[in-house]
């Protein structure tokens, strides 16, 4: 216990952190909430621009009613629903495989971890190059300079090339590229967490399983996964939170258009919507969108926690 006479010392030690938190976290949150509920807030005048200072839910109705909102919400939810399960299962399999081999384990671990320390815009550009088709597409006589690495591979095996991300591309093709990119980008962190979890499981459970002639698949599903369930829950929850905040990956591939050239904004996400609103000097709308996103993440996380409490075992 801190001596009450010494308490001021404790406060001094805490002061830098508290000041920074108040300034850059608490105050912006309060500000966001107040801006979202102020009618006609303008960043220039600081007060309701239309007539008077007035509270209301106009920002929310306008954001929800905005033509881009539904698309952004759909994109965000779709990305989450597709990428989180895929990346979690892949990460689990890779982590189990990594854990079961002895030679090169450290080297492979490093390779799998590289995307984590690489700038996501740079990765996005690399991905864009892999999927980019350069030339004139869709004209009567297309002039194509490069099909991109992925199409080269498809053509090598005799398939038809696909317009992944360029003007005139289909929505599913755009979504496919995004899912591949986000899954790949999400793997390292998940592998790291799961590998750590795997290495802390007592080897005796596996010896016991061996004695009981347990088939490999059953060892994975009945022993490894349940014993790893706290880690899996953590990975899924953070995965969903990260997924709902997806933005840079899309900007990295499609640029600030947030979509192929012929249909800008088609791949926009919730966070993209917030940035768009800010660019249009619509802080009220951006704040409202941010609060809506916060609400969605909160609900999804609560559901996740509720499910994981039922499914994790200890």
């Amino acid at each position: 216990m801190v001596d009450s006479k010494q308490q001021w010392k404790a406060w001094i030690y805490l002061a830098p952190a508290i000041v920074l938190l108040l300034l850059f976290t608490v105050w912006p949150i309060i500000n966001t909430v107040s801006m979202a509920f102020l009618e006609g807030y303008s960043g220039l005048t600081k007060v309701g621009g239309e007539t008077t200072f007035r509270l209301g839910i106009g920002n929310f109705t306008r954001v929800v009613g905005h033509p881009d909102f539904r698309q952004a919400l759909l994109n965000t939810v779709l990305l989450c629903v597709l990428t989180v399960p895929i990346s979690t299962v892949l990460a689990l399999l890779i982590a189990v495989a990594l854990n079961s081999i002895k030679p090169l384990q450290k080297a492979l671990q490093t390779i799998f971890f590289l995307p984590y320390v690489t700038n996501s815009i740079a990765i996005g550009m690399v991905f864009a190059a892999m999927f980019n088709v350069i030339g004139s597409i869709g004209t009567r006589r297309p002039m194509i300079v490069s099909y991109g690495v992925v199409n080269d591979i498809i053509r090598f095996f005799g398939g038809n090339w696909v317009n992944w991300i360029n003007s005139g591309s289909e929505y599913w093709a755009n979504m496919f590229v995004m899912v591949v990119y986000i899954v790949w980008n999400a793997l390292p962190f998940k592998i790291l967490v799961l590998l750590g979890g795997l290495q802390s499981i007592n080897k005796q459970y596996y010896d016991a399983a061996k004695v009981d002639s347990t088939p490999r698949w059953r060892v994975l599903t009945k022993i490894t996964v349940p014993l790893l369930s706290p880690m899996l829950a953590y990975v899924v929850i953070t995965g969903f939170i990260g997924g709902f905040k997806e933005y840079t990956s899309i900007a990295g591939i499609f640029g600030e258009n947030m979509g192929p050239a012929h249909d800008a904004g088609r791949m926009n996400t919730m966070v993209g919507l917030i940035y768009d609103s800010l660019e249009k000097d619509n802080q009220g709308g951006a704040s409202a969108a941010a609060l809506i996103l916060f609400g969605i993440i909160l609900v999804v996380t609560l559901i996740n926690l509720w499910v994981s409490k039922k499914r994790t075992h200890y």
Binding site: V211, D212, S213
Partner: protein, 367 residues
């Protein structure tokens, strides 16, 4: 199912390559474990007893030598295919499964013609649970059980698939003293009922002696002696075995053979015809002393502990290798705790002579 161990050897390569010192955990273990018997592998830690057990289980591969279950050579057979039951020292119960699910687990792994219906599995699981008396705990998780109960669940899980061989690794070490006594009787009872050839590992000689049909005493990877517990106790083949078995432990003296007589200090305590003159170790079991006013062995009396059934006399002797000489005599003998000196005669069959250098037993010819 008898288990045959043929020249079984396990060498662990040295971790430090420069030092190049490999560890011979088990050295040339040769033994046939008879069918349906309970065998105790006994020795201090690091003697290779657990390694031997794990080689029988298949979790560790022998460096050389062979293992047979009955007539089948299982040396190269993986653990999965050996059909053994193993109870781990820490039980290794799956923490996320209930007791019932834990016991069912090995049955659910059965494939092919051994595959059972759900009903059959449940019946077998309850049979096993009944054997170890945990039927009322079937829906609990392992974390909700006491150590003794976990132990029983582990045994039930090992027994449920009717293994050819049951292996127990220090099965009682995590239990408190009372539970230990109770559980070892349980193990004995279960083994008798199931008649499964059982090998268990322990460092507690009392435990091994009390329930085993045969014990194997090991030291530094080398088998010292194999036999029925009483035989090994009554006739140890070397000083290590003599010292390791028995509570209170055997009393060891410096002695000498001179012209057919065994001397401890100045006193000739025993006739030893036909043994060459040489310095020796003399081991005398605590119950090998006879209180005798004219006895040859004179000790300085420290104190007398009365324990009801018998009396423990604690004394000292200059030739003793232990700080104290502890003898146990019948409580009918009266001894005055204030006397300075206490004199003993020795029972010849409780007195063992060992070579000074090799520490091997020198047998006295029966007259």
């Amino acid at each position: 199912m008898k288990i045959v161990l043929k020249n079984l050897t396990k060498i662990f390569p040295s971790r430090n390559k420069k030092a190049g010192e490999e560890v011979i955990a088990v050295n040339n273990f040769d033994f046939t474990i008879p069918d349906g018997k309970l065998i105790g592998l006994l020795g201090p830690s690091g003697c290779g007893k657990s390694t031997t057990l794990y080689m029988i289980s298949g979790l560790q591969k022998p460096t050389s030598g062979q293992i047979f279950f009955g007539d089948d050579d299982v040396t190269e057979l993986s653990t999965e295919n050996r059909g053994i039951g193993l109870v781990f020292q820490n039980y290794a119960l799956y923490p996320h499964l209930t007791v019932k699910q834990n016991i069912l687990f090995p049955l659910q792994n059965l494939r092919g013609e051994d595959k059972m219906t759900k009903q059959q599995m449940l019946e077998r699981a309850y049979e096993a649970a009944k054997l170890v008396q945990i039927e009322e705990l079937m829906d609990r998780k392992p974390s909700e059980l006491s150590g003794g109960q976990q132990q029983r669940v582990a045994i039930a899980r090992a027994l449920v698939k009717m293994p050819r061989v049951l292996l127990l690794d220090e099965p009682l070490s995590n239990l408190d003293a009372r539970l230990r006594l109770q559980t070892r009787e349980e193990i004995r009872r279960i083994q008798k009922e199931t008649k499964i050839t059982t090998v268990f590992v322990t460092h507690d000689q009392e435990e091994a002696m009390s329930i085993s049909d045969m014990i194997v005493v090991m030291k530094l990877g080398v088998v010292q002696q194999i036999g029925k517990p009483q035989e090994v106790y009554d006739s140890p083949e070397n000083l290590f075995v003599a010292k390791f078995l028995g509570t209170p432990p055997i009393n060891v003296f410096e002695g000498e053979i001179k012209s057919g007589k065994l001397y401890i200090g100045e006193a000739a305590v025993l006739e030893t015809p036909g043994i060459d003159d040489q310095p020796v170790h003399v081991g005398i079991r605590p119950e090998g002393f006879i209180l005798d006013d004219n006895g040859p062995l004179k000790c300085k009396l420290n104190n007398v502990e009365v324990m009801g059934r018998d009396v423990s006399i604690v004394s000292t002797h200059t030739a003793s290798q232990n700080p104290q000489v502890r003898s146990i005599i019948d409580a009918d003998n009266k001894i005055d705790p204030d006397t300075e000196e206490v004199r003993f005669a020795l029972k010849p069959h409780k007195t063992f002579i060992f070579n000074k250098d090799t520490e091997e037993r020198i047998f006295i010819e029966e007259k």
